[in-house]
């Protein structure tokens, strides 16, 4: 009985963020009633998956509804007896398959399973029996992939979402490969209970990965540029509500003010209207895209409110009331925003953060130098860039400035293998590069002799030598 209760957390519920999987293709979606989603060029309806267990495989029936797949039939049900020894007699004349495209389409329409279609393909292939056993396996596998009509529903994890983004939309995450993300999380010592600064314009994937590793303990401050933080990738993780309590946001346009101790986030008395407007106006300036449109009606409201004593007829009163409510709502929203800013500022002010992670398409050098000021000494930081040159600049500037040790620019090389009896080898294709990382550890800033000792480490004398030998 304990099991069925146990199962509750593994059941798919409406509103859950899930990941659809077929082969190596993933897609993150949220389950909403009667909402059709497109997956691998097929429209599917997710209503039926609710109540089933995660990791269940479903068959896509006509109309796009999903049915749990009956049995996990053992692989080689299409038993093959006759095999060839090599491919010397196989000639590519384009005539080996007797079935035409139309024949196959008809079979599909008749509702034949992938297994049955593959059997037909084999029976109608004149060369199949001449293929070697290995080649036959490969043929079946290839066809299976093509005609398979199933989808597996997974619970999202960092591994799956990182692989999904890398496979589907690498441009959105600055081509950050999953193993590089793995290195970042480890090099930055991300763990529960710490206070981590993140600058992530990789769709919020890095943010999500960090939040997963912190398990709802500690705080994450997302430093963001422009109108608002990017979080689509983080949303895919489907975190429980309390995870969002640890997430804070801070616009980088206030960093200088905060560092100078000039950021005013103090709570004003709500009746003090003018101040409110001032804060609001300031916000408006800093968040042009997201908020400007809403800013205009507010000004109108103000005007109407001041001319209060004129309007007397009920219709006008009603209208006023509505506008007042709207203004109030707007005020509350601003107040909420101010509170958030104040909360994030309070976390940053101590300049005692435990880690810094930067992953963006911005030039990282000024970002890094600026945000490092919020870290306590002896804390790790890591910067991702698609381009090594930007990290060389960061490295050089940090060496000049001091205050860091263990600086290292790295990248990782990742290779997958096919492992089969007597046929083990690296996969034919591999990723050419997963981006570069600069990692290091902060130390107490030494003001007495800046730049003196770090510079001594650089191999400068060599140049001298070259020159000498020249003359």
């Amino acid at each position: 009985m304990a099991h069925s209760e146990d199962d509750h957390e593994y059941r798919i519920k409406e509103g859950d963020h899930i990941v659809l999987k077929r082969g190596d293709v993933y897609k993150a979606v949220q389950i909403q009633r009667k909402k059709k989603v497109i997956f691998e060029k097929q429209w599917i309806l997710l209503d039926n998956v609710v109540g089933h267990l995660y990791s269940t495989t479903f068959e896509i029936s006509s109309g796009g509804s999903l049915q749990p797949k009956e049995d996990k039939e053992t692989q080689s049900s299409t038993d093959v007896k006759v095999t060839g020894t090599d491919n010397r007699h196989i000639v590519d004349d384009g005539k080996s398959q007797k079935l035409t495209r139309d024949d196959i389409e008809t079979m599909k329409e008749q509702g034949l399973t992938d297994k049955e279609i593959i059997k037909q393909l084999i029976d109608n292939s004149s060369t199949f029996s001449n293929k070697t056993g290995y080649a036959q396996d490969k043929y079946i596998k290839k066809k299976k992939k093509k005609y398979e009509n199933t989808v597996t529903v997974l619970k999202p994890t960092c591994r799956i979402i990182a692989m999904m983004y890398h496979g589907r939309e690498p441009g959105k995450i600055c081509h950050l490969r999953y193993d590089t993300l793995a290195q970042m999380l480890t090099l930055a010592n991300i763990h529960a209970g710490s206070k981590v600064l993140v600058f992530d314009t990789c769709a919020g994937l890095v943010l999500g990965a960090i939040m997963e590793r912190m398990g709802g303990y500690g705080s994450v401050i997302q430093m963001y540029p422009g109108g608002g933080p990017v979080r689509a990738g983080m949303e895919c993780f489907g975190f429980p509500a309390h995870f969002h309590d640890m997430l804070h946001e801070f616009p980088i346009c206030h960093v200088n003010a905060l560092l100078a101790g000039k950021l005013d986030t103090s709570a004003k008395d709500p009746t003090e209207g003018e101040k409110q407007v001032k804060v609001a106006a300031e916000e408006e300036q800093n968040q042009p895209e997201a908020e400007q449109q809403e800013g205009i009606p507010q000004e109108e409201n103000m005007e109407i409110n001041t001319g209060d004593d004129v309007g007397q007829d009920p219709e006008k009163l009603e209208k006023e009331k509505r506008q007042e409510a709207k203004a109030q709502e707007r005020k509350e929203k601003l107040e909420e925003k101010r509170r958030k800013l104040a909360a994030a500022a309070a976390l940053l002010e101590g300049r005692n953060a435990d880690g810094l992670v930067i992953a963006s398409q911005f030039h990282p050098s000024s970002l890094l130098l600026g945000l490092l000021k919020f870290l306590a000494p002896s804390r790790p930081f890591v910067v991702y860039s698609q381009y090594k040159e930007t990290l060389i600049e960061c490295y050089t500037k940090l060496k000049e400035q001091g205050g860091t040790v263990n600086l290292m620019i790295t990248d990782t090389w990742l290779r997958h293998y096919q492992v089969l009896p007597d046929r083990t080898h690296p996969l034919l294709l591999m990723s050419g590069g997963g981006g570069y990382l600069l990692s290091g550890t902060t130390v107490a800033f030494d003001r007495s002799k800046p730049a003196a000792s770090p510079l001594a480490e650089e191999p400068a004398p060599k140049r001298q030598k070259v020159k000498d030998s020249e003359s």
């Binding site: 099991h3 146990d6 199962d7 990791s55 994890t157 960092c158 990182a162 999953y178 993300l181 793995a182 290195q183 999380l185 480890t186 090099l187 010592n189 763990h191 529960a192 209970g193 590793r213 398990g215 709802g216 303990y217 005692n352 435990d354 306590a376 000494p377 002896s378 804390r379 790790p380 090594k388 060389i392 490295y395 050089t396 040790v405 263990n406 290292m408 620019i409 790295t410 990248d411 990782t412 090389w413 990742l414 290779r415 997958h416 293998y417 492992v419 083990t424 550890t441 902060t442 130390v443 107490a444 030494d446 480490e457 650089e458 191999p459 400068a460 060599k462 140049r463 020159k467 020249e470």
Partner: protein, 304 residues
Amino acid sequence: MSFVEYSDLIKDGDVAIVHLGHNSVTPVKVQHGAQTQTRYGAIRHSSDLIGQRYGSKVTCSKGGWVHVLHPTPELWTVSLPHRTQILYTPDIAMVTMMLELKPGSVVCESGTGSGSLSHAILRTIAPTGHLHTVEFHQQRAEKVVEEFKEHRVDHLVTVRNQDVCKDGFGVTGVADAVFLDIPSPWEAVGHAKAAMKKHGGRLCSFSPCIEQVQRTCEALTEQGFEEIRTLEVLLRVHNVRDVTLQLPDFGPDPSSSQASPEAMEGASTTASPNQTSVRIKTTTLLREMPGHTGYLTFATKPRT
């Protein structure tokens, strides 16, 4: 200080990491009255360490200085006393992500070895997870128990001194993830499966030899594991260098003789060394680097 929680100040009984420069680090057990010798002279714990902030610069008796760092699993990996071959950070990072470890995960590991991976696992699964680690070598098991205590992570880990291939992990149906780094992982796949939760989980096997991988993959398939993937990850370090490259001299160019006279003058005096060479900032790769650590095989245990 703890390996799973930062503190600001160095206290008596802490394990601190002394950074000697050039990425060379060494762990130090902080004790009242004790001294540690470095190539820059002695560090006196009572006056130089205790009460200081982690990250501080400490001047040693011979006048040289070092930085004292808060321990992390990554610093431990590059400074720990080797009792066996160990896993390094690039592999550890990959294992952590691909095993889907997070706070609260229950993990089984064998062998414990020198505890390099164990510390990284503990960091990630704290404060609510648990690590069951199995080591067949008695002294190694005892030593690592001692280290877990010193590093204040002992409440998160159970060390068992037994042979995982014969006796398994000592737990059933509790693990979200299993990690195998043993000579014959295929013999432990069944035990791994038994240790894992009913609803499923992830497994990783680390082996240096492809023959081991082959047999392990067969065993995994036999035991009904899915999504079996083998991969290899290597770290490349890019060292930043200033290099000076010579420029070729093609002699005077008659066709550009109408060029401004001051440029011609300049060439004969100050500018000439600048024109014979250029200085660029670039990176170089190591002449030799670790080219193989081990193959990482991952698999998913389905619901059973």
